[in-house]
């Protein structure tokens, strides 16, 4: 759509600008302020420049949780995107059943994140949980609170349970937008199911998948509440992701300078990766 040039439109944007400035810029400046100072109390504070940044970048806690975080986000995308596409393809296209499926699929998205953790805690425990009990009954030694491999599997499974619906619903809305004529043409060409998927459905899904992958990356990279409730970051530190490391630093130890520097680095990583993903995917879209 060709837009009219009109700078008065700024007046319409002004409320958003002020609101977001209040709730984002002021706090962000506070973080910057922390990150360059050594704060003992309200009156004793010293400018230390980039000292905190240097220290945080050398901090093994950051390295470990960063690596865990990347592996986690990567696994999440690797499982949820293909699974979500499959679920969307399997959904009934219209009628009562499709409405029912939509509602059932959306339920996990609407559960508060701490309750998601609780659900999987109750579900996975070996003594009172359906899954934990039967896994152990089948002779599999499963204990998410004691074994880091099990903890990882449970956190991943929980995230798949929680968020695959988002990808599925996005793809479903993308699939519904494909006109019937495309399928008819494919029928005339006697195209195989795979060819229909590869050359009709997948290209049409690109724009929604872009949104889905970006949202899933950002949100999985910020994950905090669910693993915190489920495993508390343990056993050991095996499921401690970036947000939890940061929260422990800021609230638990009240280590303001270090937490400030950590926050900024964290934020920059998300921005950078989101931008890279976005650019890469829009290039692919243009290339086809």
């Amino acid at each position: 759509m060709n837009k009219v040039e009109n700078n008065k439109a700024w007046f319409l944007v002004l409320p958003v600008f002020l609101l977001v400035a209040f709730s984002a810029v002021v706090p962000l400046m506070t973080v910057v302020n922390y990150s360059v100072q050594d704060i003992f109390d309200a009156t004793n504070r010293y400018f230390v420049g980039v000292e905190w940044f240097k220290e945080v970048l050398r901090d093994p806690r950051l390295h470990d949780s960063l690596i865990r975080q990347f592996i986690f986000s990567f696994c999440v995308l690797l499982i949820e995107v293909p699974l979500g596409i499959c679920v969307a393809l399997m959904m009934p296209k219209e009628g009562r059943w499709s409405a029912l499926c939509l509602i059932l699929l959306a339920i996990p998205l609407l559960i508060p994140w701490n309750v998601v953790g609780t659900i999987w805690q109750i579900f996975g425990r070996a003594d009172i949980g359906l899954m934990g009990y039967y896994l152990n009954a089948m002779g599999i030694d499963y204990n998410y609170a004691g074994n880091s491999g099990d903890a990882w599997a449970t956190v991943l499974l929980m995230d798949v349970w929680h968020w695959t619906s988002l990808i599925a619903l996005l793809c479903y809305s993308g699939l519904r937008a494909i006109p019937d004529a495309y399928y008819q043409a494919a029928r005339i060409d006697r195209a195989s199911g795979w060819a229909i998927f590869r050359y009709i459905q997948l290209p049409k899904l690109q724009s929604v998948l872009l949104i889905g992958i970006l949202l899933r990356f950002m949100d999985s990279f910020m994950i905090y509440t669910e693993p915190f409730v489920l495993t508390g970051g343990g056993p050991g530190n095996s499921t401690t992701f970036l947000s939890q490391t940061l929260t422990t630093m800021a609230i638990g130890q009240f280590d303001l300078g270090r937490a400030g520097a950590f926050s900024l680095i964290y934020f920059l990583i998300i921005l950078l990766v989101s931008w890279l993903l976005y650019t890469a995917m829009t290039h692919v879209e243009k290339g086809e």
Binding site: V4, A9, M90, L110, P112, L130, Y183, R187, F197
Partner: protein, 290 residues
């Protein structure tokens, strides 16, 4: 030759009738769908099952259905003000957040979808970066900011804090829906002598009402599920249900029954809300861009 043509045109007719079945054999798809829905529902069923049991029964052994069906866990929640106020607080700040987000996002989304102005692209991207900022980063600054202006432990503080990620999302979704409305409608209305506010409220908003509904749904959803900020910015008066739930974990053990009942009750508002927008939610999930 003619029979062949006839046959293939028959094929087309059949294909047109059930072209939906081409993508996947229907039964296999149905089977997979049922399996996935079971995967979604079984953990929730287990939570529900547990909420109707006494703690003795929960810890005593596994049973697929409550043996001594009890509503005591729910009775605890509905009779204790700390519990039910947790729900009321959550619903209050979530509604407040939804209203604020919609009010500021509507004009902004209109501006982004209709006009070019200095810095529009940068502003839009900057808004989206806020959706990418981890709540953990803003935890401490928010705490200090809202404490210093005397808003700590109020509903409005949580509602404003949640605007951080909801306003950009609302602008993004609404912009998608608004761009789907042809511009000629605006121009015709202006020629007919409508003023901007009159046109916006009387003609434009009704045209995108499904978009508004979907946006409200998303604002509700992301505010309802967030706990980290809500918990940090409140202590007593505005304490959200998620924070109240930690009461069940005491030194003497976890009160599993009440915890499960409280969890079940947090699912109810979400299901109600999605029921209202079920017909538009498919489009809304694509953020209005399909």
């Amino acid at each position: 030759m003619s029979t062949k043509t006839l046959n293939s045109s028959n094929d087309f007719a059949q294909a047109a009738k059930k072209n939906k079945g081409i993508a996947l054999p229907f039964t296999k798809g149905q089977f997979g769908m049922v399996c996935y829905l079971l995967f979604v529902l079984v953990p929730i069923y287990w939570l529900l099952n547990m909420s109707f049991k006494t703690n003795q029964e929960i810890l005593g052994g596994l049973s697929l259905f409550p043996q001594n069906f009890t509503l005591d866990n729910y009775r605890v929640i509905f009779t204790d003000p700390t519990w039910y106020n947790g729900y009321l607080n959550s619903i209050y700040y979530v509604s407040l957040n939804t209203v604020i987000s919609l009010l500021v996002a509507l004009p902004a989304a209109y501006a982004f979808s209709r006009y070019k102005f200095v810095g529009d692209k940068h502003l839009f991207f900057w808004l989206l970066t806020n959706r990418m900022s981890p709540p953990a980063v803003f935890l401490l600054p928010f705490f200090q900011l809202y404490s210093s202006v005397g808003l700590f432990d109020t509903h409005i503080a949580v509602a404003l804090a949640h605007c951080l990620f909801n306003v950009p999302l609302a602008v993004w979704i609404l912009e998608g829906f608004m761009s789907g409305v042809p511009k000629e409608i605006d121009e015709t209305a202006y020629i007919d002598g409508y003023s901007f506010p009159h046109f916006f409220a009387k003609i434009f908003l009704p045209m995108i009402r499904s978009g508004i509904g979907v946006t409200a749904f998303f604002c509700f959803m992301f505010s309802w599920v967030e706990l980290l900020l809500a918990r940090t910015l409140t202590s007593i008066d505005a304490k959200p249900i998620g924070a109240v739930m930690t009461r069940t974990i005491t030194a003497s053990g976890v009160d599993w029954g009440v915890l499960a009942a409280a969890g079940c009750l947090t699912i109810v508002p979400g299901v109600l809300v999605i029921w209202f927008v079920r017909n538009h939610v498919a489009k809304g999930f694509a953020l209005g861009r399909v």
